[in-house]
């Protein structure tokens, strides 16, 4: 009945880490998730890969000359599992692995620092609060626990990595999400509004990543709808706002943390025999405003593969 809403979108979500001077490359600007809840006994397996590059400094919304870090990037692979317990309740688990989170320094010695490892995991329950089949409006909400796979910060050769290169927050947290969906059968258009709030706790080393609120508006439209074709396509346009709060070290404010960003993310979704979904997406920053001086986003892209399974 609501299978149409089990479209996988790249959501402007998990801030696995709000970095101090380096928010972007330390923070995935997207993730993957199901929009809405799944039908009972349906399983959805989502795997994704993300790349992000940051190579310029901002002070406020002004671009500065090159700083001491010439560029920073990350490559992240992740997975999300969702299972419909009932037609109204879906359980979700998500986690990722940073293949690298790297900063390259523009100093004569030419150093770079690299972190890698598991992100925080998230376990959440999503509930279908309202569904009107006549007007095709759906609202669901989710709440979950964000947890680290290790409480210890990462060290390389006995030197602690900067907090913005740590793959996880190394602390507990909470995630609250809300989804609003409106469909138009005749035009093939769908509208999604998605919000995700992440609250982070303090880790053993006294660092607390800033809380974040990400809000996305999606417009989606079917491109190919021929029953003879094994492939159907959907074009999706996402406008996303990311608010990142300041971070703290032993409850002292991190001076260069906190930001307001807007992204435009065009996405193409291909469904093969309605058994596999493949999505590609680009993350283009439209507007960025940073508190004090921070390394800012340049571009990001993601590839998502989804396998819905009816058990």
């Amino acid at each position: 009945m609501r299978k149409g809403t089990v479209l996988i979108l790249l959501l402007g979500l998990p801030q696995f880490l709000s970095g101090q001077c380096f928010t972007s490359a330390g923070n995935p600007v997207g993730g993957s998730g199901n929009i809405g809840t799944l039908d009972k006994k349906n399983l959805s397996v989502v795997t994704y890969y993300q790349h992000s590059l940051s190579d310029r400094y901002f002070e406020g919304h002004q671009i500065l000359d090159q700083g001491i870090i010439s560029s920073a990037d990350f490559n992240l692979a992740g997975m999300l599992l969702a299972y419909g317990i009932t037609n109204k309740l879906t359980l979700e688990g998500e986690a990722g692995y940073f293949i690298n989170k790297t900063k390259h320094y523009s100093i004569p010695e030419g150093f770079s620092l690299k972190g890698s490892g598991f992100t925080n995991g998230v376990i959440s329950a999503k509930y279908l609060v309202y569904y009107n089949p006549g007007s095709k409006v759906e609202f669901s909400a989710a709440g979950g626990l964000k947890f680290p796979f290790t409480p210890n910060t990462q060290r390389i050769n006995h030197v602690r990595l900067p907090f913005d290169l740590q793959p996880s927050t190394n602390a507990l947290g909470a995630v609250i999400q809300a989804f609003l969906i409106k469909q138009h059968s005749l035009t093939g258009m769908r509208y999604f509004l998605y919000s995700r709030l992440e609250i982070n706790g303090m880790n053993r080393d006294g660092y607390r990543s800033g809380n974040s609120l990400s809000t996305s508006l999606f417009l989606s439209r079917h491109l190919i709808r021929t029953s003879n074709w094994p492939v159907s396509g959907t074009a999706i346009l996402q406008l996303r706002n990311e608010l990142r709060g300041v971070s703290y070290i032993f409850e002292e404010t991190e001076p260069s943390s906190g930001s307001v960003k807007f992204f435009l993310s065009p996405q193409l979704n291909l469904a093969f025999h309605e058994k596999w979904n493949l999505s590609v997406l680009a993350d283009i920053p439209l507007y960025q405003h940073y508190r004090n001086i921070q390394l800012a986003n340049r571009i990001g892209f993601s590839v998502i593969l989804v396998k819905p399974i009816e058990l």
Partner: protein, 114 residues
């Protein structure tokens, strides 16, 4: 029968030798001495770097570094402190030396970033 006994004695001898060659600390313990922790410059501008050097002696020592704000490059006896934009103010950098007997000593230098 006799050959079997010889083999057993030989094998035991080898095992005892291997055990004796195990990487054990010397009987006479070396003292752990953390002499100095120095910076090439104690005041720098944001976006600049300074070298921090530790001098210590002891048995199988390792150098453990950390800083709250800013980045540390390198490892061992010398690291480079990078004053990223968020480091304006005083930045304590700590170095802990741990020896093979698991004894440890720590020192701190403060780098002021303008």
């Amino acid at each position: 029968m006799r050959i079997g006994v010889y083999k057993t004695i030989l094998l035991s001898g080898i095992l005892i030798n291997l055990w004796a060659c195990d990487d054990k600390p010397p009987v006479e313990e070396q003292p752990l001495v953390f002499s100095t922790l120095k910076a090439s410059r104690y005041s720098i501008l944001a976006g600049d770097t300074t070298r921090i050097q530790a001098t210590a002696s002891g048995y199988a020592i390792t150098y453990h570094w950390q800083v709250e704000k800013g980045d540390l490059l390198g490892s061992g006896t010398e690291v480079i402190y990078v004053a990223t934009p968020c480091t304006i103010g005083e930045n304590p950098i700590s170095c802990t030396v741990i020896d093979g007997y698991n004894r440890q000593e720590s020192k701190q230098v403060v780098i002021t970033v303008f």
